[in-house]
Every structure is written in C-alpha cells, then in structure tokens.
Amino acid sequence: MPKSFFYFDEKKIYFEQDMSVAAALLCAGVTDFRQTQVLHKPRGPFCMMGACFDCLLVIDGMVNQQGCMRLAKEGIKVKRQTSNALSEIN
C-alpha cells in the first residue's frame, strides 16, 4: 500500500496512522513551523500536548491551527505560518 502523505508548503510529508501533523513534520526533520508574532523568529513544537501553542500552522487555509492536536490526513494542505499570515488571509 502506498504511504499516505500531505504537503507542507512544497514538501511531501509521509505519515503513519495515529500521527499528528506536528509529529509527522518532526519525523520528516521539520522543526521550524512558524515565524513568531513579535520578533519574527523561527519557532517549532515545544509541548506536543496542546498547551504551549508553539506549533501553530496554517492548515487548509485556517491560521493558528495546533499541529500537535490535528491528526495527519491525506491531502491536507499545511503551510508554515508567517508573522503576517492573518493579514495575508483576510
């Protein structure tokens, strides 16, 4: 059976069952999930249990989605969240 994948920006990310989007990205070696709001620095997952909000991503056009709380699904479109992601989308 072919492995499932989703796109993170242009990159194909393969995942297995029960993996969150954040876990799939970390397994693929991606640690930089977003640009911070104030200092525009790179930031990635910290707690992996939904408490720290550091793994925020743009998923299927929705900003501020917690990567660690969303199960990876075939075909979702995941993007690194930039500091001005909100204004870009609205």
Binding site: T31, G44, C52
Partner: protein, 457 residues
C-alpha cells in the same frame, strides 16, 4: 443526574468508571484522539510488543482502558475525543471545540481531571526550534514511534530518566543527560524516605532505570547550571557550568524537563481559591481531601490538584466520583470513599522524597534579563523586572505593561515564573502576589465558532 468528566487520563477514567457503576450518566471530554491521558497516550493503538518496550508503568494502563472500552458500549457513558474544553462555568455549563466547531451542554456536576503541565525552565535558547520538553519527546515515542535523534536532556525528575530509558529501548540512546540536581539534594531527600513497600518499589524502579542508563554508557553530568543553547540550522551547542567550569556539548535535539505542576487553567477561570506550594513552586487549587471545591458539585481529581503521579491519580479520580455520589444522596458510597482515600495516602509518602530530590532550582525562577519568559508574546525577564520597578502591582497589571501572559497559551508556561519574579522584586510571598486572572475561553476559539454553536450529536 449527568456528570461531565474533563480529561480522560487515569483520574478521569476511574472517576467515570465509579460513576457509571452506579448508573450515573457520564460525558467524558478529552482533547486527544484516544483515551489514556499523557501517561497512557495512544496505548489503545500500539502493539503489545511496542507497549512493553515502553515499560510496565505504560502497559499497566491497559486494564483501565479495557474497562473504559467495555463501559463505552453501554448506555451510561459518552466519550467525546478530540474535544478541547474552552469554558466551564459555575452553573456547570461546559463548552468545547472539535475541529473548529463548538458545542455546549449543561451538566449537574463536573469533575476536572485535566492533569499537569511541565514546569518551565526559561534559559537562553529555550524557544529555538528543536528545543522541546522531555514530555514532548515521550509523546513522539508513544504516538509516532519516533525518538528524536542525537538528543541531550537537560533537567531532572522521574519523567526525565524514564524517557531517557525509553529512548534507549527505541535504539536511540540520548547523547547525554545534563542533570540539574546534585549530591546534596540526594542527601536532603533521603531523610524523607519512608521504608514502606510503595516507596521502596518506587525507589527500586528508579535505581533500575539508572542502572540501565549506566550499562548503556549514557553520559550523565550532574549539578549543571547556567545552561545556554545556541542554535544554528539543525545543530545546537549547549553551554553549561559545572563546579565553576564551563563546558559545551553538541546536539540535534535539546529536551528540557524541570518536573510537572498542576494544569490550573480551568480552576483559575472558575475563580477557585489556589494555594502556592513553595516546594513545587506552583499554585494548586484548594480542595478538600477528596477533591471537593468551594463550588457545589464541581470537583478536581488527580495531578490537577497536586502532583502525585498516575497511580495516585487513579484513586483520586475514584475519590472525587464517590464524594460526588455522597453529596448527591448515594449514602452507600461513603464506606467506599474512606477505603479509597486510605489507599490514596500510600502514594503521598514517596512524594516528599521526590519533591526534595528534584526540587526546582532557584535559577529556573530568576533568569537573567535577556531571557524570554512569555514564549507567546516574547517578553523577556528584564521587561518584567522593569515594569515592576516602575509600579506594576501584580501579574494582571503586568499584562497591560508588557503583554506578558496574553498570548495563545494564556500564561500556562509563564504564569508561575512571573509570580515568582514579581514576588522577589516586591518582597512578598507568591501567595500575596497571586496569579493571572484567567478568563474563559481558556483555549483560543474564533468568534464565528462561538456565534455558531452546533447541535449536540
């Protein structure tokens, strides 16, 4: 009667089981895809072999999960997974969000079993990508069978060594353990060791873990302080001091752990009284010994009251459920309640030993001025100190001065540090300083979500 149990870890599950055994309707709301909490995370989905490789304390959860599964087929239990509870009111109205859609239901009673959070260890570079908590690494191991490569662990505590051993079992031993406790902590702790069976078994478990790490040749460096992480691309250089000498070590992943403290987001939002635990450097909700709060029919259970671990949480959940039953006219539950409470006390005794041995270091709560304290709003310690010096009176005014605690995590990772920082400068106790005023929604939800509550399924 309909009860909401928030959180499906050991406390939440055993509370629910005790209630449905007496034909009380229970709705369990849990944030993760499957029940078990962080301790038994994903246990229902991993193979027996993989579960065993993570240790007997993980496998042990299977009986609890099995009982829950059997109960879930029956009439009295509704388990709702992937539900982020964002509001619990005094009137027992509970609101939650699933996949960006919200639901609201009124209950007759609520048991809060929301567990713990890892204590913050603010240091230079702790916000860099590739720097995570030890708990985060464990979640990766449990849900993705992925152990982050070339890891250095910084900190101390039971979970610290457990995860180091689990990484070992995964065939990916940590590169080194930089341990913050020292030998004098051990001496101080030994005075509190009680020679009873539960304590000795616990101690033996720890010694076995340390022996495993030693046999595998994992480098352990004790009594480190002044840790700084310099990151470039995917490589980190960790600088640290030991006995006045500076050293450094390279890593691909840095994992921090400074113990855990109760997750008080909902109890604070409910305006319950909280007490500062000086030894554990955190606020704990004020409850009676069974988990009753000052609000009628609202209970807290497990590590959400006080950190005592999974076995104690299981019994604490049962206590809260039985106390709820007693309060609502099930007089027969009274005998069970006192029996359960006696069992619970067994787990309290080893805690003092662990609390002293792995006591949070003073430097966790008085970081240099250039260190980020509020990860969300990127507020540094210097800015907080400056605000207090020009007249900021407490954590709530600090929000207006600096936005500290106003980001998405709503103070979960800076709250206790902020309380400490302010108390140090003003010269008062953390109890006097108080905590952030936490408001509902305790998780960010969009306005359109609140405006479009969904029908209950």
């Amino acid at each position: 009667m309909r009860v909401a149990v928030i959180g499906a870890g050991p406390a939440g599950i055993s509370a629910s089981l005790a209630l449905i055994a007496r034909n009380v309707h229970v709705t369990m709301l849990d944030e993760q895809p499957s029940a078990g909490g962080q301790i038994y995370r994903n246990l229902g989905n991993v193979s027996r072999k993989n579960a065993r490789s993570l240790g007997s304390d993980y496998v042990k959860g299977q009986s609890l999960l099995k009982q829950l599964e059997q109960a879930n087929d029956k009439f009295f239990l509704t388990l709702i997974s992937q539900a982020s509870v964002w509001s619990v009111t005094e009137e027992k109205e509970v609101s939650w969000s699933i996949d960006n859609k919200s639901y609201c239901q009124k209950f007759d009673a609520v048991i809060l079993a929301t567990g713990s959070l890892e204590r913050s260890m603010p240091l230079d570079g702790w916000t860099n990508p590739g720097v995570m908590t030890v708990g985060a690494a464990q979640i990766l191991i449990k849900t993705a069978r992925y152990s982050p490569p070339s890891s250095v662990l910084v900190g101390s505590g039971p979970l610290f060594y457990l995860v180091a051993c689990q990484m070992l079992e995964m065939g990916n031993p940590p590169k080194a353990l930089l341990e913050t406790q020292n030998n004098s902590d051990l001496l101080k702790a030994f005075i509190h060791l009680r020679p009873n069976l539960t304590s000795l078994l616990y101690l033996a478990k720890g010694l076995v873990m340390l022996a495993k790490l030693r046999i595998a040749g994992v480098k352990r460096i004790k009594a480190v302080s002044d840790v700084r992480i310099k990151s470039a691309d995917k490589a980190h250089i960790i600088e640290f001091s030991k006995a006045g000498t500076k050293s450094q070590i390279e890593a691909e992943t840095v994992l921090l752990h400074a113990g855990v403290h109760p997750n008080i987001q909902i109890t604070q939002a409910l305006r319950l009284k909280h007490d500062w635990n000086q030894e554990n450097q955190c606020f704990e909700p004020r409850t009676d010994k069974f988990g009753r709060t000052s609000l009628n029919n609202i209970f807290v259970a497990g590590d959400g009251i006080k950190i005592l671990g999974a076995d104690a949480a299981k019994i604490s959940g049962k206590c809260a459920a039985l106390a709820l039953l007693v309060d609502n006219g099930f007089a027969k539950a009274k005998a069970d309640l006192s029996r359960a409470y006696r069992v619970h006390q067994k787990y309290v005794q080893i805690r003092k030993f662990l609390d002293v041995l792995y006591a949070p270091k003073d430097w966790y709560s008085c970081p240099p001025n250039n260190i980020i304290i509020c990860r969300c709003e990127e507020v540094i310690a210097g800015k907080i100190r400056e605000a207090v010096k020009i007249g900021c009176l407490g954590p709530n005014q600090l929000k207006a001065y600096s936005r500290c605690g106003m980001g998405n995590c709503q103070g979960r990772y800076c709250g206790n540090i902020v309380v400490n920082l302010i108390s140090q400068i003003v010269g008062q106790t953390p109890q006097e300083t108080g905590y952030f005023r936490i408001r509902q929604p305790i998780k960010p939800v969009t306005l359109s979500e609140i405006a479009n509550f969904q029908e209950l399924p």
